[in-house]
């Protein structure tokens, strides 16, 4: 029996060795695997967003089309020539309804999924009316983050000729390159929203600049302390997803921003040191925030990279630390709005998920129907919600998230 087990073990070991060698020697595809970008892919999590994002007008300068009077059947980009597929050109000629598809990492991620769907539909409805052309669309994706499932779904729809324009949200940049390039190569326009895959052939990308948003949050927090005579000597960082480049950039930005205003402020942890990932489960976020706050009673201001700011504020209130400890963060909901009114949350950056999706739908429609060419990263500014403006928006509405 022992011999059989040993043989089995050897066989398994050999199998894995062969698999590893095969993988190492195998063809990894035409395109080299792209490096993850230094800047911000976007959050997996459930998070609210904003309405009042000041969307910049999409760039319409860089590439050139050979027919700007109608649909851009052929456009020159840095990576080469995009040629609209004959199938879609045929649909346009016959005024057939177009399928605009947005693929996101998690349709079931609370707030995020609903807000993206809201924005996508709003964009389609608006453009359909604007152009007087029948547009159909939907948001696809797995319930929760599952990159292979998301990519496979796009692939199936591409094979079924069921996509006339694609927008995507990429949990990580690399895994989406091939499928985006497949779509573009087959003549389908592709846009990124919220989280990018910059090494792909996507035309343009609509999202925040995470670093700049974090910096703004830091600067505003520091300025608020100065204006109100509150001493911030020690600061701490918390996050739902420490591994996310978006979270890293928000934290780095916050540190830089607050240090500009309060140069002597000391951070008890950093984006890569002594920081834990709290995840997105409310009960877990509360428990770990509670433990961290009890363990760091000398911290004056806590920056949370996402909607966990709600639970930091809740712990501050529950522990009777109101007026001694403050927090700033990202995202918004009615409860966070109340904590802003109470003076526990100094500032929260409202991302505007719905607005990001809206911009993606608009780009699809304007490209196909209006001949507008888009390229590059269109930065959508967040709304910085503070006591000054918290009552100016109805935070229960999906279009505000």
């Amino acid at each position: 029996m022992t011999t059989i087990r040993r043989k089995l073990f050897v066989l398994i070991a050999v199998f894995f060795a062969v698999a590893l060698v095969a993988a190492a020697c195998g063809d990894s595809g035409e395109e080299a695997t792209p490096e993850p970008p230094a800047s911000a892919p976007e959050p997996p999590p459930p998070a609210p967003a904003s309405t009042e994002t000041t969307a910049s007008t999409p760039e319409t300068t860089a590439p050139a089309s050979d027919d700007m009077s109608g649909p851009p059947y052929s456009v020159e980009y840095e990576w080469g020539t995009f040629k609209l597929s004959d199938r879609i050109a045929g649909k346009l000629a016959n005024e057939e309804s177009l399928n605009l598809i947005l693929s996101i990492e998690g349709t079931g991620i609370a707030i995020f999924g609903a807000a993206m769907s809201d924005g996508w539909q709003r964009g389609i409805d608006y453009e359909a009316e604007e152009h007087g052309y029948p547009l159909a669309g939907r948001v696809i994706g797995p319930l929760q983050t599952d990159i292979p499932a998301q990519v496979a779904e796009i692939d199936s729809l591409l094979d079924a000729d069921a996509i006339d324009c694609l927008a995507f949200e990429a949990h990580e940049p690399g895994p989406y390159v091939d499928i985006i390039n497949k779509a573009v190569d087959s003549g389908i326009p592709v846009f990124g929203v919220n989280a990018d895959s910059p090494d792909s052939k996507r035309f343009a990308f609509f999202a925040l600049d995470e670093l700049a948003s974090g910096t703004l949050a830091g600067r505003m927090t520091g300025q608020w302390a100065l204006d109100n005579g509150v001493e911030f000597e020690k600061a701490g960082l918390l996050t739902g997803s420490v591994e996310g480049p978006w979270a890293q950039n928000r934290m780095k930005g916050f540190m830089a921003g607050i240090t500009e205003v309060l140069p002597d402020i000391e951070f008890v942890n950093g984006p890569n040191t002594d920081i834990e990932s709290q995840g997105w489960v409310p009960a877990d976020q509360y428990a770990s925030s509670e433990a961290w706050i009890i363990g760091h009673p000398d911290v004056d201001i806590i920056f949370h990279t996402d909607q966990g700011v709600e639970f930091v504020a809740q712990v501050i209130a529950d522990q009777g630390l109101h007026g001694e400890m403050y927090t700033s963060g990202f995202n918004m909901n009615p409860q966070i709005a109340d904590y802003i009114r109470d003076g526990i949350v100094v500032v929260t950056m409202v991302q505007g998920f719905s607005n990001q999706a809206y911009n993606g739908a608009t780009a699809c429609a304007n490209f196909l129907l209006g001949g507008e060419i888009y390229s590059g990263h269109d930065i959508l500014d967040p709304l910085a919600a503070t006591q000054e403006n918290v009552d100016s928006v109805d935070w229960t509405k999906p279009e505000n998230q």
Binding site: G108, D274, P282, W292, G295, Q335
Partner: protein, 332 residues
């Protein structure tokens, strides 16, 4: 109660776990004295209560030789269902009862599919986990619920009654969730260790064939434990909903592993027949101490996962090692 403590101290597994908790506690306290503060200990015990409640229900399922992977989804669904019908106008009391009933019904369905259709409980509850999660998403529209900010907002009187279930602080600032856990643990301890029902459960798990040959009501008992397990998960979800004042459809999805870990670390075997309520509670406490202490000292991003996973594997390895040693000693 004395006998509980006496048995616990005699049980080398529980003694080992308690020693580990003390050692870990000393290490955390040395690193950050806030760990040992009353405030932190109360917060820590409160945060383990929902995991503990679910683990109690799962202990009965495991001792009878079955598995229930749907408890995390039931936790989220029960809270979401209660919240949804409450903001739709149903009074909070019937809404709570509907939420608990949903947990019981899902547990019953698990038992029915497993016993009447003959599908292994692993498969049934794996499927049910997904079905129930899907239902949570369906009824919520993939959005969280905070009844205070619903349109229209929940009645303030009902809201305060609901929040009191999980948020109340008793004398010495003891969170009411801790009382829920202690109360449930006592009931389950009596049920498992002081009744014929508990004795039979262990017998069924130890030797299902003999249990059937002895005409023990195996099917009926399995229905009871699955239903109870569903009910406990629903109760836990409801109490966390009450404490936080909000819930979302993904709530509970990450609880499955810690709950299983608590039961296994506490000495249960997945093959059935062996588990104790004190062991489960102490297992949950160990995980809570690790979770809380690692958060306090801010040791790093993935430390919690590594420690909790490692503790679970170590507990099972230790169990295997001691039972091998015992059986060798028996043979000698």
């Amino acid at each position: 109660m004395n006998s509980v403590l006496r048995n616990a101290v005699r049980n080398p597994r529980i003694l080992g776990l308690l020693s580990a908790i003390v050692v870990i506690g000393v290490i955390f306290s040395a690193n950050n004295p806030s760990f040992i503060s009353t405030r932190n200990i109360l917060g820590m015990v409160r945060s383990m209560s929902s995991m503990g409640l679910m683990a109690l229900g799962l202990t009965l399922v495991i001792i009878v030789g079955e598995l229930d992977l749907s408890i995390g989804s039931i936790y989220g669904f029960a809270a979401m269902l209660t919240g949804t019908i409450w903001v739709d106008g149903v009074h909070i009391v019937p809404a709570l009862l509907v939420g608990i009933a949903a947990g019981l019904v899902i547990g019953f369905l698990n038992a029915a599919l497993s016993n009447w259709v003959g599908i292994p409980s692993f498969i049934v509850t794996l499927g049910m986990m997904t079905v129930v999660y899907g239902l949570s998403l369906l009824i919520s529209g993939a959005e969280g619920i905070n009844p205070k900010y619903a349109d229209p907002p929940a009645d303030p009187g009902q809201l305060s009654v609901f929040r009191a279930l999980g948020e109340t602080r008793l004398g010495w600032n003891i969170p009411i969730q801790v009382i829920w856990l202690i109360g449930a643990a006592i009931v389950f301890w009596v049920l498992l260790h002081r009744t014929l029902f508990g004795f039979r459960l262990a017998a069924m798990g130890s030797n299902p064939v003999a249990a059937r040959a002895a005409r023990l009501p195996v099917t009926r008992y399995k229905f009871i434990v699955f239903t109870l397990g569903g009910g406990m998960a629903a109760l836990a979800g409801m109490l966390d909903f009450s404490f936080l004042g909000a819930t979302d459809p993904s709530s509970g999805q990450s609880l499955l592993f810690p709950v299983f870990a608590a039961v296994i670390v506490g000495g249960a075997t997945l093959t059935g027949g062996k588990a104790t309520i004190v062991g489960t509670v102490v297992g949950a406490l160990l995980l809570a101490v690790l979770n809380n202490g690692l958060s306090i000292i801010g040791v790093g991003a993935f430390a919690k996962e590594i420690f909790i996973g490692g503790a679970t594997i170590a507990a099972v390895a230790l169990d295997r090692f001691t039972s091998l040693k015992r059986s060798k000693a028996g043979q000698a």
